[in-house]
Symmetry: C2
Subunit: 440 residues, 2 copies
């Protein structure tokens, strides 16, 4: 007898087959029992005799039975297998489930976030929640494919680092035997170094931020999609690469997951031809002209400004996204390349959409002396950057730049999720590492 995935049996009408999965829903009509059986590929309706009534939701079973066409009026267009059902002959209970704390059979679980996370190993099984991570897998795969096709080498950057140097966000200290080490805030330094080895590199790397705040947009552990490219003739090549990547991601998600987009009631962001690029100072002028709101003396866009710029991009360029460029030198890390035409500004960009930042990037300083000078200017001691970072520049680094995007952030944005925790299989924040941490 053929052992098949549930998605496969649609094309086996009239055959006896074996499926394996979980009891998703069970409806006991006494002499006859209806079960929705779920596996990773889909859900199918199974009709069994009264012996099936002993089963409970989430029991793991194998079921043998006959695949039958459903009568026309009983077709369920919402199900991939809605044109068929399985007439069960027998079942084997592989593992029994305890009584569930809530109904898993609903289209939307409708649980609060703490409950959703307290029962993460269970709630992840729900079709709509699991879908998030199929989209996420597609995003990662498309990132790798796009970068490899463009000649980038995939690298593995370490996450234990000796000093807490990059500044900005707080870092987690580790007890490293009888010494102290830290969790890397990003693979930034390593990807830059590796440009001097492989010219173009990318990495999918876990990164850690110990910012002591609880927001809907931040995790303490996240997955960064990082790329860095050498021998650039212009810093705009970095933006071009980021734009190509995003277009590929949207296309792949749209092609592979139309059903999930529908389930979430969203569409991938629109980019009619290309993503507009506008200097931060011009963006602030534009916001003033369009809304009367004056943020021209602010160093950055506020969320309202980001939303206004998204709106502008959509209206004038048919694009849901916009590159805002030339951020002030003071507001960017010490390695950011100053604009030769105006050293108060940098050759840097943020990609803005739906009032959020999607990607950040830019050109980096590749001259050793300039980098050392900047480190001092930023109030740090170059000795802490010497090995391995500055060493790469001391011995010849080409003009280079790069970008990064947070995997959970982009998953959240694409699916329109309310909270970034929904876009992480096992989210970590200040208050939770699987279990809610004790208050102190």
């Amino acid at each position: 007898m053929k052992k098949l995935n549930i998605a496969q049996i649609v094309s086996h009408i009239g055959e006896e087959v074996e499926i394996r999965g979980w009891v998703n829903v069970i409806r006991n009509h006494k002499k006859i029992v209806f079960l929705d059986i779920r596996d990773a590929s889909g859900v199918v309706q199974v009709v069994g005799d009264s012996s099936f009534a002993q089963l409970s939701p989430e029991d793991v079973v194998t079921i043998k039975g006959l695949v039958k066409k459903r009568p026309e009026k009983l077709i369920n267009p919402k199900l991939l297998t809605g044109t068929i059902e399985m007439e069960a002959k027998s079942f084997t209970l592989l593992a029994a489930a305890q009584e569930l704390p809530f109904d898993m059979g609903k289209e939307d679980l409708g649980l609060t976030l703490p409950v959703l996370l307290d029962y993460r190993s269970l709630t992840l099984r729900h079709g709509k929640i699991r879908s998030i991570f199929k989209v996420q897998e597609t995003i990662v795969t498309t990132f790798r494919k796009t970068m490899k096709d463009a000649g980038f080498t995939e690298v593995q950057a370490p996450t234990i680092v000796a000093t807490a140097t990059e500044g900005g966000a707080e870092v987690f200290p580790i007890s490293y035997f009888d010494k102290k080490a830290f969790l890397a805030q990003s693979p930034q330094f390593y990807k830059q170094i590796l440009v001097s080895i492989f010219e173009k590199v990318f990495t999918v790397a876990h990164a850690y931020r110990a910012e002591p705040s609880v927001t809907t947009r931040h995790l303490t552990e996240y997955v960064g999609l990082d790329a860095e490219m050498g021998f650039i003739d212009s810093w705009t090549e970095v933006m071009d690469m980021a734009e190509t990547l995003l277009k590929n991601i949207f296309k792949a998600v749209k092609t592979e997951h139309t059903d999930i987009l529908t389930q979430y009631g969203v569409e991938v962001p629109k980019i009619e031809s290309s993503i507009p690029r506008i200097k931060l100072t011009e963006a602030k002028e534009l916001i003033f002209k369009r809304t009367g709101r004056d943020i021209r003396t602010e160093p950055d866009l506020d969320p309202e400004g980001e939303r206004e710029m998204s709106k502008w991009a959509r209206e004038t360029h048919g694009s849901d996204l916009v590159f805002v460029t030339h951020y002030p030198t003071k507001k960017r890390p010490m390695y950011t390349y100053p604009d030769p035409e105006n050293p108060e500004e940098t050759l840097s960009f943020d990609l803005i959409g739906k009032g959020q930042e999607w990607i950040t990037g830019g050109q980096r300083i590749n001259n050793y002396e300039q980098l050392v000078t900047n480190i001092k200017k930023w109030g740090q001691d170059p000795i802490h950057f010497e090995i391995p970072y500055l060493q790469a520049f001391k011995y010849g680094m080409p003009p280079e730049g790069g970008f990064c995007l947070g995997l959970e952030r982009i998953t959240m944005n694409v699916l329109g999720l309310a909270n970034i925790r929904e876009a992480s299989l096992f989210p970590r924040d200040m208050e939770r590492v699987d279990i809610a941490l004790p208050k102190t």
Copy 2:
């Protein structure tokens, strides 16, 4: 003028092109200067006038010039570009390198390990060293492709964990705000949980071992290639999958990197048809019979025993590798499935080759009560395993098993490297996190 990679210019004889790269070697013959220019794709000989004499090793340059065929007797068969040279017209210095601490132009660097690592950002540029990581990239890519082709879903497991529960190797504590957390020793628990979501999963995950010893085979941070599969009918399916993976890896490395294998004077391990499988007790009997050495009362094979088993596999099955199975229950983690025919032994395996362990895996206990009982038997409190691990089993987990291999370990074994540190871009151990840590 065409900007080309060095590997590309071989097919542009008679054309003026531009290349970009590093000065690998410079030989000054006064009126004429020979330079080996290196980029990520290869090395080419460039002939320039005396103006080129101002360049130094590792300077970053662009060079414009004419691609010419070399006279027959000057062809260098060792170089990909050995049939051509470039007659340079002009150059631009993109970044100057400081004087090097050692000669980077030799075929073998011939440095001690501490020097190799003290100058890691420089030594990684060396062709023979960089090659290690091209092989490593191929191994990772082949792992992903093999698993995806077999229907596995790629997942992202967290590395910050709440409790140090898996036992065995020591763990690194993290200061997690005002609480304590730990670095995961492996994604084991998460990949098992995720079987109940996606049935078959894999992950490329950093993992951390705080074992206070310095050996040639261990790192404190390593990259694990982890896979886990549900609904197995027999635990041998896990070995079958591991065997398919290894065969694919060897094939890909051989196909894509013949030159690197030659450079390292090695061949990929031979597997004539399939990898033999032998019970640990039988292996120990065999060693006794073949060598007279009696390790029959030992719980495991020693390195000498592992070498003897590799020898046996080669002689009798034409395989450089051998699966040793049925390790004693006491020596395996608490989640390992006991052999129903002999509960003193487990349905587990190690893949042995060249006197080393390459892969470890087996079937896991999927019954909730049995798992809880075992946790207690192993002297631990199930409460620490409840969320998220045991929760997955409480609500129905199919029969499942999996395996993992260390990326650096397999890279080392395939290339015959003496020390695992050579197979990590930025190796971490008890004494080094980029910089040698201060002795205390």
